[in-house]
């Protein structure tokens, strides 16, 4: 096939963010965006939002699509909300006293963990025989209580024999899916490896269901193309790989945004800021690539060994709730709500009520009266509610109501008196409030919905503070710029941002404040960012404008920056890495080196000569990486091999096969 004569290679990229699920139809070779679609993210089941995008995006010929690629916060979200499946984790050869003394038991991401005798040492020798009997008894005892099993054996990257034997035995007595630590991580951190295995096991079924739903949606739309999923470092894997290692999709959303920013702007050195509805995410592009975190992705406080982009996220987005904090400070986020402009757009009576509120003389309107609750969807028939939940639903059935009114009707003073977590999580009721999006309406910078509602809300706030409206707007923008500036500084320097300590003697803090708002008569301070900012997401233009000024750099807004995140889902390369360890085989008593072990993913062999071992490892790693890359959908993958020394006489042979995704018409 001649690429030049090929008229079009159409691909569909989808990104599920915290608020919106974006889709773009894109011509792969020219990066031209042909169509885009925005749909609300459905947290209760991400596949619904994605199905909506697939169903509704404008497609002249669905059959012409050659690839669909998705970045999703599904895994991150499932872990954060405890929606993963229940896992039993077997720790072979781990020292229970050591784990206890460092209080590490809560780091395994499951309460069902068990210690089994066995494991290996640094040299791959058996530390203790594997107690298979005990393993099987514990499996039998726990198998009804869990949905999947994870096994991590001490020093399994050096010798996975006990993990493999454990898998074989467990599979003989039950049908639960089994994940082995050494298959996910070749590094030696035993706790992180166990955590990674447990998280992967808990996500297997979640990702499997997701892929089944997406493929069904594709078929219903007449799309017959390979399905790819974005990894946490922005590279792609096909759906089959994703189903086996779902843990690798952690942080794939922000990674895709960063790659999309690079893809559409062509900037090779830049700081990418993705302003979404819920958060603003920062990532660094260096030499055309997203920088990757050295330590591995951490999610909900669990440290994993998964490679992920180096990211920083703050709870500030277009739909962050603006509230009054202590000392009449304006606070923005981290809670995400539906902008009042949008709620009023859907429910005109909300506008009338807001206008009436803003004109009320006595009692003076409170900003907290601006929070509205509303029915977001009908609950399924079989759902049962608590009496309190039902009461809230009954009150909201006739239309959105201020939270203060709902509570008053129920005879309550404070929302903390009722537990509505279930209704929020299932997205049965929603929350609306004053947001940056409303301010953009007022300032006529982005006005798809009801400006009057936003205006009324602003007047309530400024009235409450006894400010004129301009002053409120100015204070709001200063707060936004301060938050983002601090985030950029923290992300790039990895230093803690000084906080107001009351003494006024902190020079770093003075520098920062004087840079944000010049206030000194003689001294001028500034900080220059040597690379441009790339703005992504609908509110990026207005939100980031002042931040770019603070850093004396330009703000690059690539064409279609509003949906660059979705473009990023297709922009990554398909990548597979394969590692092989070489370490010395020692004589009795660990005295002399008598040969070398070559430890690959699926087995270990002994080789006498070091040179021979290295050559063989390079060959196997290269071949394995290449064939895995081809299987996961890479077109003409190129292999790079690296030999890294890893401790005394130990070497890590790393083969990386990278290629553009193979497009299939």
């Amino acid at each position: 096939m001649n690429k030049k004569n090929q008229p079009e290679s159409l691909v569909l990229g989808i990104d599920t963010g915290g608020t919106y699920t974006d889709g773009v139809l894109l011509e792969y070779n020219t990066h031209r965006i042909i169509a885009a679609h925005k749909s609300l993210t459905t947290k209760r089941d991400f596949s619904i939002g994605i199905e909506n995008v697939i169903k509704e995006i404008e497609l002249a010929d669905p059959a012409a699509i050659q690839m669909v690629s998705i970045s999703t916060t599904l895994a991150t979200n499932a872990i954060a909300e405890g929606k993963g499946k229940r896992v039993a984790l077997f720790l072979i050869g781990y020292d229970p006293d050591l784990i206890d003394s460092f209080d590490m038991g809560n780091r395994f991401a499951t309460p069902h963990y068990f210690y089994i005798e066995g494991g290996h040492d640094l040299h791959g020798g058996e530390k203790a025989p594997l107690d298979l009997q005990d393993l099987l008894e514990k499996t039998r005892a726990v198998q009804q209580k869990v949905d999947a099993i994870a096994v991590s054996s001490y020093f399994s990257p050096r010798n996975p024999d006990h993990e493999i034997r454990a898998q074989n035995a467990i599979a003989s007595v039950c049908d639960l899916p089994i994940v082995l630590g050494h298959q996910l991580s070749t590094s030696l951190g035993s706790v992180e490896r166990a955590t990674t295995a447990a998280l992967n096991a808990s996500l297997l079924a979640v990702l499997q269901e997701f892929i089944i739903a997406v493929r069904r949606a594709m078929e219903n739309r007449g799309i017959n193309a390979p399905l790819m999923v974005v990894r946490g470092d922005g590279t792609l894997m096909n759906d089959e790989f994703a189903a086996q290692s779902p843990v690798e999709t952690i942080h794939s959303g922000p990674a895709a945004s960063a790659i999309g920013g690079r893809f559409l702007s062509g900037e090779d050195q830049a700081l990418v800021l993705d302003v979404g509805g819920t958060t603003t995410d920062l990532a660094l592009i260096k030499d055309g690539k997203v920088t990757v975190s050295e330590t591995g992705a951490s999610v909900s406080g669990y440290q994993t060994k998964v490679k992920a982009a180096n990211l920083f996220s703050i709870g500030l987005g277009g739909d962050s709730q603006i509230r009054m904090g202590r000392g009449n400070q304006i606070t923005i986020g981290p809670e995400r709500v539906v902008p009042l402009a949008y709620l009023a757009h859907l429910h005109p009576n909300v506008k009338e009520r807001l206008k009436a509120l803003s004109k009320r003389g006595w009692p003076a309107p409170y900003p907290r009266e601006l929070e509205y609750w509303f029915m977001q969807r009908e609950a399924a028939d079989h759902t049962t509610f608590t009496a309190r939940e039902q009461q809230v639903i009954d009150i909201l059935k006739s239309g959105p109501k201020p939270a203060t009114e709902v509570l008053k009707t129920m005879g309550l003073l404070d929302p903390s008196q009722i537990d509505l977590d279930n209704l929020w999580r299932e997205e049965i009721i929603g929350k609306s409030g004053f947001t940056p999006t409303d301010i953009l309406h007022i300032e006529a910078k982005h006005t798809p919905w009801d400006i009057e509602a936003s205006q009324a809300a602003l007047s309530v706030f400024s009235h409450y503070l006894n400010w004129d409206e301009d002053r409120f707007q100015q204070a709001f923008w200063e707060t936004v710029t301060e938050k983002i500036t601090k985030a950029v500084l923290h992300f790039l320097t990895e230093k803690e941002i000084p906080t107001e300590n009351g003494t006024g003697h902190d020079l770093a803090l003075w520098f920062l404040n004087n840079t944000l708002i010049p206030a000194h008569d003689q001294l001028e301070t500034s900080v220059n960012l040597k690379i441009p900012l790339i703005g992504i997401g609908a509110p990026a233009k207005v939100i980031l404008d002042k931040t770019a000024q603070v850093f004396n750099t330009k703000l690059v807004l690539p064409e279609h920056y509003q949906v660059a995140n979705a473009a990023g889902a297709v922009a990554g390369s398909v990548m597979v890495t394969e590692e092989i360890l070489i370490y010395p085989q020692l004589s009795a008593g660990n005295v002399d080196v008598i040969g070398y072990y070559l430890q690959a993913r699926d087995g270990r062999e002994e080789i006498e000569e070091f040179e021979q071992a290295i050559d063989k490892a390079k060959h196997i790693a290269g071949e394995n990486a290449l064939s895995a890359a081809l299987r996961s959908g890479a077109d003409n993958p190129q292999v790079e091999i690296e030999v890294i020394q890893d401790g005394m006489d130990s070497y890590r042979i790393k083969a990386k096969a990278v290629g553009k995704p193979r497009l299939e018409g």
Binding site: S172, V173, E219
Partner: protein, 214 residues
């Protein structure tokens, strides 16, 4: 090894279970679109899963349409003959090849107690699969695996009329003992009797109750 797609694999498992447990009855028409809607899968994955099931002899594809394979009395004879010989072979090979790990696994499975007849069957199946694995011949294990699916339907047909089978558990214990002692001929003998007893019982019930037309 060629992997099936995630959704094909899952659809295959679901349909395999429904057919082998007679939830989908022998002779029933299989409508791809309806199954896709009901199970929430793409039609492609259902079609591919059914293709695999044709290969398993659990689905039939006459010139028009797809059906759950019918059950014939002659199948019982054919399946039992093949299984009898292959299971005996597996027992012999296991006695020769079983590792320490295999013995721990077999012992554990023997000691497990079933609460009802259905669970007993699942356990029995696991035990036979573990023997096949202990024979360390993957071709033998694969062939036996496919026969379980066919066998399971006959068993489910007889299930409502069956009593609990404690004698099966006893022969399992004896079999593990023979394998542990590397006594090949004893292992073969126990297995042969065990399988014969099973099929005789099923055959009796099926004939007596007229569950399949001859």
């Amino acid at each position: 090894m060629k992997m099936n797609k995630v959704d094909t694999e899952k659809a295959y498992q679901l349909l395999w279970n429904q057919i082998t447990s007679l939830e989908l009855e022998p002779g029933e028409i299989l409508d791809i679109a309806a199954l896709a809607d009901e199970l929430g899968f793409s039609q492609i994955s259902i079609r591919e899963a059914l293709r695999l099931l044709i290969h398993d002899h659990l689905v039939e594809a006459p010139p028009r349409g797809l059906y759950v394979a019918g059950l014939k009395f002659s199948d019982l004879e054919k399946i039992s003959t093949v299984r009898l010989n292959l299971e005996t072979l597996a027992a012999q090979q296991a006695a020769r090849q079983a590792t320490k790990d295999d013995l721990v696994i077999l012992q554990t499975l023997c000691e497990e107690v079933a609460q009802d007849t259905r669970e007993l069957f699942t356990l029995d199946q696991r035990f036979h699969q573990a023997i096949a694995k202990a024979a360390h011949n993957n071709y033998l294990a694969d062939t036996l695996d496919r026969l379980y699916g066919l066998s399971k339907r006959l068993w489910f047909l007889a299930l409502p009329h069956l009593d609990f089978l404690p004698s099966a558990v006893k022969s399992h214990i004896k079999l593990v003992e023979a394998i542990r002692n590397k006594d090949e001929s004893l292992a073969m003998e126990i297995m042969q009797n065990h399988i014969e007893e099973f099929y005789l019982k099923i055959k009796d019930i099926i004939q007596e109750k007229g569950l399949i037309e001859e």
